[in-house]
């Protein structure tokens, strides 16, 4: 990777971590060939390993958009609980999780769009924090599409976001 260091960590470490050591650490980033040729074993394994199949449509996406944001939240939760078990195989699993994350995001964003009318300019910092968390989890999920725990964490984050938004929107909706 070629990322630049973030400024805060560099600043934080500037006082107690010598530049010479920092540059020597960076110089450790180099190619290292294995002592043995790994290809024969890899070839043997992938010969028996199917590649990713066509992406199936997750069952929970078949739920039609619901009329209200609250009903949407309930439907999303139910669909998540009732989703079919994925077929075995990390490739299939990865694509399935990615598709589920994308669809989940779209559905929650639709629900939040409805509710945001009731929140308006009163959106507190917590909402922005949750939005950033969701974005970070989605980034991590794209890097590691097999990580089901990330999808579950994404769902929890969206649930908290929706719950908080609903609480904020309630006074406006009932007034």
């Amino acid at each position: 990777m070629t990322h630049e260091h973030d400024n805060d960590s560099m600043t934080a470490s500037a006082g107690d971590f010598p530049d010479s050591l920092r540059w020597q650490l960076r110089s450790l980033r180099r190619d290292v060939a294995p002592e043995r040729d790994l290809w024969p074993a890899i070839a043997e394994r992938i010969a028996a390993t199917p590649q990713m199949a066509a992406r199936p449509a997750p069952a929970w996406r078949r739920f039609a958009p619901l009329a209200t944001a609250a009903a949407l939240a309930l439907a999303i939760g139910l669909a998540w609980q009732l989703r079919p078990a994925p077929a075995p195989g990390p490739d299939f699993e990865g694509r399935l999780l990615t598709a589920e994350a994308d669809a989940m995001t779209r559905e929650y964003q639709a629900a939040l769009f409805e509710l945001n009318h009731g929140v308006g300019a009163r959106a507190p910092q917590e909402l922005h924090v949750l939005d950033r968390s969701a974005a970070q989890i989605r980034t991590a999920l794209r890097r590691d599409p097999d990580a089901r725990f990330l999808l579950e964490r994404l769902q929890r984050t969206y649930e908290r976001r929706l719950e908080l938004t609903q609480r904020l929107a309630q006074p406006t909706l009932t007034s």
């Binding site: 990777m1 010598p18 960076r26 450790l28 180099r30 190619d31 394994r45 490739d91 890097r143 990330l150």
Partner: protein
């Protein structure tokens, strides 16, 4: 950074694989099941994949090779999901890191796991490039003996150049924890280097 690399790819879209790595044709062929093309990708990238894994696992040669093998198998499986939105080498590097970290997490959950006791005996095997100085080898050995989690954060941040946000997401920890682990790792590293790197 690999973002959006596994979603929204449409086969009809003009592939925009970064031309500088020259992997595009091999990747497309391998994604269609061409093992010879995948071997070409393996030959090109095995050093980089094995290198980052070796650093993450503390230079345990056998583990690093097993994990590099695992990473290439996972890459083969996942290739159809590669969307040409980042360099293939970047995508593969991420996958290799993830493979190594998964193994570190698994070992962490095993009470009998031994992570670092044989690091000093095995770390020398990473010196295959022939140009490693004695000083950097000392440093490499010192990094290898750090506790696994602290080592992972230090390697990803100080060697690979990742941001704390990326490390935190990859390791499933808070950003603050990543920074704390880095601080801890740097302190341990300096103490293990015996004051040769005082400011």
């Amino acid at each position: 950074m690999l973002t959006s690399a596994v979603t929204d790819w449409t086969p009809t879209a003009a592939p925009s694989a970064p031309a500088e790595d020259g992997d595009g044709d091999l990747v497309r062929s391998a994604a269609n099941g061409d093992m010879a093309a995948f071997e070409g990708l393996y030959r090109r990238h095995v050093g980089r994949v094995h290198g980052v894994i070796a650093r993450l696992v503390g230079g345990h040669a056998g583990r690093a090779e097993d994990l590099a093998q695992e990473a290439f198998v996972r890459a083969w499986q996942a290739l159809p999901s590669y969307r040409f939105e980042s360099a293939f080498s970047t995508w593969l590097h991420r996958l290799a890191v993830n493979t190594a970290l998964m193994e570190l997490r698994a070992r962490r959950s095993r009470p009998q796991a031994s992570d670092d006791e044989d690091a000093f005996e095995t770390i020398g095997s990473v010196d295959s490039a022939g140009h490693v100085t004695a000083l950097s080898m000392d440093l490499e050995r010192a990094v290898a003996t750090l506790p696994p989690r602290a080592r992972a954060v230090l390697v990803l941040h100080d060697v690979e150049g990742w941001k704390h946000e990326e490390i935190a997401a990859e390791l499933g920890m808070a950003v603050g924890s990543s920074k704390a682990q880095l601080h801890r790792a740097r302190g341990l590293l300096r103490s293990r280097l015996g004051g040769h790197h005082d400011a």
